[in-house]
Point group: C2
Chain length 209, copies 2
DNA sequence: AATGCAATTGACCAGGGTGGTCAATAAAAG
DNA sequence: CTTTTATTGACCACCCTGGTCAATTGCATT
């Protein structure tokens, strides 16, 4: 990250880093191609090395950018008031989903990094901290009394988390293959609410359904 | 697939195709490397082209082999007797899991093919037929009366399927990262049974729990 | 108009990997 | 001993890689 890049306006910086993150997310560090990155970003090969020292530091800087960006943009509005686990999951899904729509490259980059091995120690630690932070947000300050008494809380939490992850995964797959129209998003969330209602009926005491 | 390959004993044929399928599964058709395939299979580059016409026909033959193999080996013992949806999912998970353990390369190959685009029309149709067949096995001849009356059957079926897919996905991820010891498989299935019991309590009428 | 500096290009490099070939062998069969 | 089959790996032309750099363009200041 040389001064030339820093003195670019924010929008252009974002474009370039997004191009890099998209490429890294798709191919991983080693098989990612700097040639494809410059093509995505709409610039010449020379500029990439005018802005960054090497492919490696480009990756590092992109990861830095992504982690900071997520910290600043996604983790707000999550001030965890007391709520049931289903409501918590639903709210976080909405937040995650909106963030993904607004910043797909960052989301995919961070997701791919989660499964990859080409991080240095410091990056691994930071990434783990992020994951732990997310866990905390997911589980902190829950109202667990809403659960039926005849089912173990920990079990219920696990089952619900798996269910929602399965649902969102299916939706992601559908959107990828069928290219869901933007107008259908409302239907997507209506459907989601329907399933949330059903889950409340299954997992919660009557007074909370 | 030349005669030379066909006159090989079955075991060696399997080894070679498994090597190819593993490589294709990991990298997709284009980025799969014939050099790595021969290394995996423990033979020389020349032999590959002594056995197969080209990389493309190798892929085609491997897919053929995989589809036939699955039809013959996995889809037995699934004679769908009347049972609840949870029991059905559990049984199919067991079958799928055993098959994965016995034939990981085939499993991963077929899974990867499901997400890839480099199939010709005939292969796409065959693959879709396989998927449809699986759906039928999953949903045919179910005892839906076991479900609680206050929850829609279709909704319940969806929720359960997502839950189980979430669980197995988490297990797969754990096994990949931590390299689950084979001795722990019993524990894996004990845990699985625990969650199945919980799900019965949630979704079924009392007399079926 | 002239100068100087920053931004920008893309041809170019050596290195490595690609799918595929083939003359040379080794092994087996006749 | 000869013929056929199995097997090797060096080799090919080609493509892509991360990275460099001389040359050019654009712009601001004199």
């Amino acid at each position: 990250m040389k001064e030339a890049f820093i003195s670019l306006d924010e929008k252009r910086q974002y474009e370039i880093l997004a191009a890099a993150m998209g490429e890294f997310a798709e191919h991983g560090f080693t098989k990612a191609s700097t040639n494809r990155i410059v093509k995505r970003a709409g610039m010449s090969k020379g500029m990439l090395y005018y802005y960054f020292e090497s492919k490696r530091t480009l990756f590092d800087d992109a990861l830095d950018f992504a982690l900071v960006h997520i910290e600043n943009h996604m983790l707000d509005g999550i001030a965890s008031e007391k709520e049931g686990f289903i409501e918590r999951c639903a709210r976080l899904s909405h937040i995650k989903y909106r963030y993904f729509m607004a910043h797909p490259a960052i989301s995919q980059f961070i997701t791919s990094v989660y499964f990859s091995d080409d991080l240095n120690e410091e990056q691994k630690l930071r990434n783990e901290a992020l994951i732990e932070n997310r866990e905390q947000i997911l589980f902190d300050n829950l109202d667990l009394t809403r659960f039926r008494d005849d089912i173990d809380h920990r079990t219920a939490v696990k089952l619900i988390a798996w269910t929602i992850s399965g649902y969102t995964r299916e939706m992601e797959h559908m959107m990828k293959t069928e290219g869901m129209a933007f107008s259908r998003f409302d239907a997507y969330f209506d459907e989601f609410d329907h399933y949330l209602d059903a889950m409340r009926k299954l997992y919660y005491k009557e007074e909370y359904q």
